[in-house]
């Protein structure tokens, strides 16, 4: 949608324009991008690497991913919003990630002007967070030589009915919005409390192998004598699959901080009645 608006505005300004879009599943590491080329006569829709005038990144990691396409001395407009993809997760127990730090000076070596904006907050202040993309377009417009009349006509013709006003207001705000402060990245205060504890009651276990075959983390193994052993205690995420699927009540998963009750024969009376 945003690239359609850019393309439409360029057409209105009298250029020959070619635009291409690729939609992948971004959350799983796929690509979502579009190229726009304009000029007096455009033959190919794709922008060669290292030649783009402006990169509009709707998310910080996308800016890093596509900055190779920007020419030296070009511009990057990036939203400071961060969407952490599952592929960046390094530890499923603590949700630690290797998401890159937001850094306005990261592309200085190539003389690329970096403009960081907080589009979501700006749009929220105007009344609708969904107009955030128009804020980004406004910031992009500052780097392109197109008259605002064309921009606003393009927005009015393409956004859903009833949202024209807010989108144009967001576009104007984007032109003038001040650079966003880079948010401090705070580490998770809870941190990783340690793996869950796997408690095996060997006198009940029959070595049927169900738990070890179903454990997604391969924590358990039945050894050559048919005895169940924990081979990878650190990997337990506490999913309780082994506990729920154990037909013999031989496995108990305890949360990390709770001290495990020593395994062994318990009180013969069992329970209260």
């Amino acid at each position: 949608m945003a690239s359609m608006i850019v393309a439409d505005a360029l057409v209105r300004a009298g250029h020959d324009v070619k635009q291409s879009e690729v939609h992948g599943m971004a959350q799983r590491g796929g690509s979502v991008f579009s190229h726009i080329r304009w000029g007096s006569d455009v033959d190919s829709p794709l922008v060669p690497a290292g030649s783009a005038e402006v990169l509009a990144a709707f998310e910080w990691a996308e800016a890093i991913r596509w900055v190779e396409y920007v020419r030296d001395g070009g511009a990057v407009v990036a939203d400071i919003r961060t969407i952490i993809p599952p592929g960046a997760c390094t530890d499923r127990r603590s949700w630690a990630t290797r998401y890159p730090d937001i850094d306005a000076g990261l592309f200085d070596g190539r003389h690329i002007k970096t403009r960081l904006i907080d589009a979501s907050s700006t749009a929220t202040e105007l009344g609708n967070v969904r107009a955030a993309n128009s804020v980004i377009l406004g910031s992009v417009a500052a780097f392109l030589d197109i008259d605002d009349v064309h921009w606003e006509a393009a927005i009015a013709s393409l956004v859903p009915r009833g949202t024209v006003e807010i989108n144009i207001a967001a576009f104007r705000a984007g032109r003038t919005v001040s650079d966003a402060e880079v948010p401090q990245q705070v580490p998770d205060p809870d941190g990783f409390p340690g793996p869950h504890q796997i408690e095996i009651r060997h006198e009940w276990c029959k070595g049927c192998d169900i738990c070890s075959r179903f454990c997604p983390e391969f924590c358990l193994e039945v050894d050559i004598d048919g005895k169940l052993v924990v081979v990878n205690a650190d990997a337990c995420t506490g999913c309780r699959l082994c506990e729920l699927l154990c037909p013999d009540f031989a496995i108990t998963i305890r949360p990390p901080l709770e001290p495990a009750i020593a395994a062994g024969p318990t009180d013969a009376t069992g329970s209260s009645t």
Binding site: D209, F214, L245, D248, F249, G270
Partner: protein, 270 residues
Amino acid sequence: MTDVKTYLREWAMPHVLCPGCAHGIVLRSFLESVDQLQLDRNKVAMVAGIGCSSRLVGYVDFCTLHGTHGRAPAFATGLKLARPELNVVVVTGDGDGLAIGGNHLIHAARRNIDMTVLMLNNSIYGMTGGQAAPTTPEGSVASTTPQGNTEPNFDACKLLIGAGASHVVRVLAANPLEMTKVMADAMTHPGFSFIEIISDCPEYFGRYNKVGGGAEMLSWMAVRDEGITIPLANKSFVKHVPSSAPPSGMKTGVLHREVRPVYAGVRGEQ
């Protein structure tokens, strides 16, 4: 949530069931559902007949009644009429409930007695040596059908819907969380609730039909299931899913639910 092991008669454990038998998973899920409903353990009565599944009542710390072969629904009917305040749960197997006890089961359903019947279907007579049961799928090998079973098998849920059960569900033993939810639903349902649990018999059915042990049989249920649920066994982390596809066509989930008058005895007492 309390540890469900507190509902066990721990002195009787470990139970007699074979390694890999899913009946233990069913028992655990049942205890979780009792825990979820916070039922008084002195107000839960488990009634069973004869068979592997019926052995489960020996390990639970509720009121238990171990009756004669196939007659568990009859005992449970009497118990419920005499002591209506009890939560009566019948544990039966496919042979116990559908062959020798078929009549008792359908008449309890017809009367809409307020009880829950857990029928653990392992498709074979496990306790007596792997003979073919009314639920043994056509073509499957049992000790009495070495060339493959030539008879069609029962669809227990259709039978019970026809007999008048007011709540009929089918679940897979490979799906413990769903089992817990379904059992809790059934125990709160007023009237006759029937749950067919697709369990397994690795020792006889799995061995004769070359399906494998407990883990393979749990995976195998996923192949059988055509239902609305996604069994755990269907997840890709299961290392070996056997290629010999069993007869499919079993729908899982809540197959029938209605509210109709509950039989309350001659004097009309509830």
